[in-house]
Amino acid sequence: MTAIRLGVLLVIASGFTLAISTLPAVQEPAFVVPEYSADSQDSGPVLEEAFISGDLTSEVHSATAIELNNGDIRVFWYGGKREGSKDTSIYSRVLKRADNSWSDIDETMTRQTVARDTHRYIRKLGNPVALVKGDEIWLFFVSVSVGGWAGSSTNLSVSRDNGATWGPVKRLISSPFMNISTLVKNAPLLTENGDVVLPAYHEFLGKFAELLQLDSSGNVLNKYRISHGREAIQPTLLPVDTTHAIAFMRNTSASQPGKLWFSRSQEQLADWTPLEALALPNPDAAVSAAQLNTPEELLLVYNDHPSERDDISMAYRPGNDAAWQLLHQFEKKTSTKKEHNPYSYPFLLQTHDGNFHLFYTWKRKHIKHVYFNRATLLDMLSSARPKS
């Protein structure tokens, strides 16, 4: 055996010993199931509406919100001259609990900041979603370097001062094909060991929903596929217990359009039931959901039409296998004037006092905020009607 042959063998032994000794062991996520109180039922019904995105940009879209540890609500959205224009930024403002007033609007993230931190050219920014993790806010958002939304990647920035300043932007590496086409729309979940489960979707060749498991540094530890093919995107993920979850998804199917998709995780998070078409319509549009007194008692905000985003409606399901009931319509197009998707991208946030903040895109010109409390919800429930 020559010295070179022995030397190469030694290199191989060293390299693989290192690899085997540091093989990662990723735990299956155990969800933190949130608990909500309904302590505001003693007050009367309250339902308030306002446009909150100001006039800094001519178009706005895709709002998301979090409840901060002090009870304030921070909302994020993206805006620019138009969807996909080069001047898009992520904007944010805070609804202060103390006096129920809105802060000034911050330009939270620009494409220049993202390019500087990720060392990549960035053409436009898109959907944000956020999470409160201890004393930190994790802000995930989409960016595109080349092409349309199918070329998106997802980024993460962390704030340790309730959103006043933001740390370096980190690129999530979640796809082997030039890392393109991982997008986000709906809220992430926390796990008991501090990992984060981020609902994501892919829309390059396939259109499918998946989950990213991230460690406490924001590294992608694992992926779990909910669907495949070109059927479903934008999963809204809700934990049923520590090891099981359900997901509602936007229907992008060419062969079975018009109905909202649903799936339920099985024994492992990598195993999901085949997509099930619900009785609720879906015009290839985003939905948002919240859990009430039990994990299967749900509110769902959606467009109540199989092909048009002409309304923003809320449905209620009292439990697993129960029928959906139409609770309320926040918007309903009344004019016959042709408008392209006037109401879309709802985001429903339930605060820890059991009340609700709904945000959605209003004719691409505004982000509309609707606040309603539990007493209002009870009023809505009393006049609910079953969905046919």
């Binding site: 290199v11 191989i12 690899a19 990662p24 960035i122 082997p176 094909f177 890392n179 396939g206 070109r230």
Partner: protein
């Protein structure tokens, strides 16, 4: 960590651009001085700012990070084509092509949503993939394909040390740009390995 160091990342993008140039242009037919001038020009164009950002920001935006396999191959390819310095044998190049092609077929269609099974997720934790690579590396060593053996070993070691942004072993093994360049080398018969001058068996 390569990805956390802008200069290192920029240099990997330089290697990618030089490898593309090497397989697309018949550089071995032009004088050495012209070759060197071209290499220096490409290096500067990629590293220096173009408008707001360095050129490599744009390259990285399109192709993503280079895999470790790609970096080893690009260095060997550039040295072989431009300076007649042979780091791999012709059989190793043929085997590497087949390995990259096979891995791409096993990875990309499934990662892009063809089925419910996602082979990419296999690369986060699976000891099986590491085991397969160990067997492959020992096979290469047995056949005296030392360039390939060291390249694969470096790939798994770099994954253990998390030298790239990704924690997925697949991202250390292959990337789409490597696949593209491998296909181009197939189409360019001049890109062949000869007798290995470093590890002459």
């Amino acid at each position: 960590m390569i990805s956390a160091t802008p200069l290192l990342t920029g240099l990997t993008m330089v290697l990618l651009c030089l490898a593309c140039t090497t397989v697309l242009l018949p550089l071995n037919r032009v004088p050495l001085a012209v070759r060197l001038l071209l290499i220096i020009s490409i290096t500067l164009a990629v590293l220096l700012p173009l408008s707001d950002y360095p050129g490599w920001y744009y390259v990285r935006s399109i192709f993503g990070d280079c895999s470790i396999t790609a970096l080893f191959f690009y260095v060997a390819l550039i040295l072989q084509q431009n300076f007649s310095l042979q780091l791999y044998q012709e059989n190793e190049l043929v085997l590497l092509r087949w390995l990259v092609l096979t891995a791409s077929i096993l990875l990309y269609p499934f990662a892009l949503g063809l089925t419910q099974y996602d082979s990419y997720s296999f690369g986060f934790t699976s000891p099986w993939l590491t085991g397969v690579l160990l067997m492959l590396t020992l096979g290469c060593w047995y056949r005296k394909y030392y360039f390939l053996a060291i390249t694969i070993t470096a790939t798994v070691a770099a994954w253990s040390l998390q030298l790239l942004e990704s924690l997925n072993l697949w991202d250390y093994l292959i990337d789409p740009a490597l696949l593209l360049i491998m296909v181009l080398t197939w189409l360019r018969p001049s890109v062949k390995g000869k007798k290995n001058i470093l590890f002459n068996p």
